[in-house]
Symmetry: D2
Subunit: 306 residues, 4 copies
């Protein structure tokens, strides 16, 4: 497979979709990103990386961080990794990504780890396991990506906190059901720090390599059992793109996780990890050009899990 | 009407219902109240007061305070009293009293001022109008009841705050829709202080006299226009007993407001205000013996708004 | 009280509201009624009747019939009148009048007898009790109104049946929970026939007199116990105007039942029954000019149950 | 791969789960099936078939038929196959399989073709395309399975119709939104006939071969484009096992469709189609022993789409 040629064709196909959609504007720090940006990178399982466009420009990972916090919690729970699943489900939510409705109907147990409520539970668990959830994630991402410059974006984290009433509501609500181990302000703070990490398509494709390598880290050591890595991919496919997961599976057919910063990572198990970035979002919070690019990538390569 | 005789017959009728139901146990300070208590008082519009049983024993007013905070907000908004109704509705909620579902569907506007979310909005408004919502209510209640000993119960307020994650969730959620004027912690604190006030049946029946006197205070001065007082009664009838308001209207046929401390105040417009207290609650949070007593009172007197 | 003068002032006040709102257009037979119509009638408890405007023009009673079917079922269930309440609730619905959501959550038991689902249950019961629900209602209305010309409007009934998929859905859904005694097509048919009856404001005010007379019929015989009549009024107040009952209680303060034909009946217990008609409906299905007229009537007379 | 050996090991593993769960008892015709049954079959893409246990015993396909009706509609809509997707979505439902809630919130457009409401829309479309939806499906299944004895089970179809109020409610409800092309009774009838078809594990594994062969039929002709076949697999993975699809993807990691008769078909794209059968169902309507068998199959073979 000539990845570079494929990525160039994909980028050409996606170009008309760039600037479509709407850049996330709920916090100023995200709003000022140019809608013109587009980048895509592929990291194959041997560690080779290819990219086109703005593939080396850092952007705010936002909800893509939820994949990594879930992986870290599963990795640190060897022998008892099912415990997190008593506190968060594995079903698609069927409602918008920060809905309180199901949380209420289901006694404070979020539907899955990729809606905000579920991610708060995972962060809470990571905080208990590590004593410092956001820093432990940053260190992991630096090691896996090989980019020691990765950092939190304090302006983004502060801005999230300022506009964080909805996440505070979710956290207090789960606390009222006894589903948090740490104080609400601490959980929210670590959650916002994780979301604020800045990474490029290159960084994310490389750092997510363990999902394509059935759990092996960049240095060949094992982060997760193969079974666990497959299961994260399964949750990404059914729940990774907010309430458009069914549509995304239908069109693209790959496990993927999106963020409102405009990034999407996707996994072709046994082959490679991709990351695409373009800030314009559709109504459900997924990058318009990013989804078009992944759709075209699977069309060109014939690679799909189905 | 020989009130004293009627009350004694009502108390005899209600006696078998005392100890039925379940004393509120979500905070320790409420849980330790004896289930055996029962008192009832009537204050007629001339200021005469009658009572039987534990009618002079103070108990935690809890949600009965919502009637008074609404009245105070309406009283302080002369010429513009409709403004609170842009931030809270007047419809029965149709769902349990602290539900987040409708709040989410209806953009952070609570259904009515007597569910927790709506009462938080009213407290927030009272805070803006007075600079000290809970103290202004305490002063009003002292004046109207003529009981200068009325006080907050700090143990109850602290206990509510400790177990206050659900109300914090409601407040943060409304703040995320821009429906709070003051900081969340301040609104919650004043709300808990208001709920913690200790009053007896006598105190509450007397203090609620303005609802039977079409808005006139105990000293003859006007708190509310007649139209406004009638409207508070209307909201009490349709929304005052959590999600049992229809049932309560059917059985009792009077405007009423209940609290999880076991108290219920009820109004017979133009005649009198009643307060009954017994701590055992039914599944919807209303006093079992209290409802039975009011039911029997309307049967004996033939008084009902219908 | 000079009823005639009051009604004339009320009509003058309501005039600007006529043609506001939107004439029901879901079936052709209703759509062709002129939006210009306005009439109002009062029948006092002695049988005197007053009216202005189009108060003698027949219109489609639609959901106002629900009040009469409930009364007939309660009247025919002496000694066991509570049985209907095992199959239908007494709580406001909190959601639009033909919602399936609560019906699903609550195992096929409709919230109250005035939403469509609840009225289908009441009709089903009336069918069991009488063998011919719609004819028995027609005969009752003829007797009470003294108007032997009352009749079904076949075009309306047929038109409802043609567009009756939503009511068929409700009925089949309740049947799936075992909450219908008669075959779905029969229940729906009688329901549509009842709704299609044509009556004037005069007819309805007179026929509804038993609600103001605490259960006594026009001929002085007893239809309902006083307690039962009061209870129907209570259900009208909390549930009679679709999901605007709280608002209606707040503004008007009277038990009332509206229909999409533009009619509203209202009760002042112990005094009189009113009926107002104007076809333009607000977003919740209540006559705009009709509600304005009742609001002004209570302002002028000072009569309100609160 | 020694399929026969694998199937035998899978059957041994699944054995303790047989008789767990609860045989569907909502219609008598299903209830009388013995809970002891267990069979599993694999058809590889070359047409070789392997099986163990009761793999040649016919059972009621029930909702597994939804996969075939969707495939037939897509196959008959060449050049315009997207039209069905204007009338039914592709998202997991997030609520139990026959819920009316989302249908109401989403204007009569069912969430996906595998919940009952969605399958009724697909059957309605197949009826329009073929003039006889159930017979056209029966003929297709006979041809693909090579079993000319396949037939409807009239007792099951009649029994479904007798207890069919909930499906009638769904169909009338969608009709009220204009989302049915054919009369409700006809759509329901064809739907019940399709569900009543009796097939064995062998028959179903063979007939579902086109899903593993990227759209090619048993005789090598093309039923669906490769892209279309992949998309059916995607919808099976995200929506095929009622509201347990996320859990099923997590545990088993294969596109699958279950039925309340106790059967489940699953697809390993490019390799084979499986069918397992055991009548005991879990709380969500999926075969307990069937899910355990598929879980163990993927563990033994390492085959998973992730």
């Amino acid at each position: 497979m000539d990845y570079q040629a494929v990525l160039e064709e994909v980028a050409a196909h996606a170009r008309p979709y760039v600037r479509q959609g709407r850049v996330a504007d709920y916090i100023p720090a995200l709003e000022r990103v140019s809608a013109d940006r587009f980048g895509i990178a592929v990291a194959d399982i041997n560690g080779d990386v290819y990219g086109v466009g703005d593939w080396e420009t850092p952007f705010s990972v936002q909800s893509i961080s939820k994949t990594f916090s879930l992986a870290l919690v599963m990795a640190q729970s060897h022998g008892g990794h099912d415990s997190i699943w008593r506190r968060v489900g594995r079903e698609p939510s069927g409602t918008p990504f920060n809905s309180l409705v199901q949380l209420e109907a289901e006694n404070g147990i979020p539907r899955n780890p990729f809606i905000n409520a579920g991610a708060l539970v995972v962060t809470d668990r990571l905080q208990t396991l590590t004593g410092d959830a956001s820093t432990s994630m940053l260190h992991f991402l630096r090691e896996e990506s090989g980019n020691e410059d990765l950092a939190f974006d304090q302006a983004v984290a502060d801005s999230e906190a300022e506009h964080g009433d909805r996440n505070a509501a979710l956290a207090h609500f789960m606390a009222s059901f006894g589903n948090l181990e740490n104080p609400v302000p601490s959980v929210i703070e670590h959650y916002f720090w994780q979301c604020s990490i800045e990474m490029s398509c290159r960084d994310l494709a490389v750092a997510g390599g363990f999902l394509a390598r059935h759990g092996l880290r960049a240095d060949g050591s094992r982060l997760l059992e193969a079974r666990e890595a497959k299961r994260i991919n399964a949750v990404m496919l059914t729940c990774g793109t907010y309430d458009a997961a069914g549509e995304f599976a239908y069109r693209v057919g790959l496990p993927a996780k999106s963020g409102v910063g405009g990034g999407i990572i996707a996994v072709i198990p046994g082959r490679c990890t991709l990351c695409v970035w373009s800030p314009g979002l559709d109504a459900r919070g997924n990058s318009v050009a990013g989804a078009a690019a992944l759709d075209h990538f699977t069309t060109l390569t014939g690679w799909s899990v189905f």
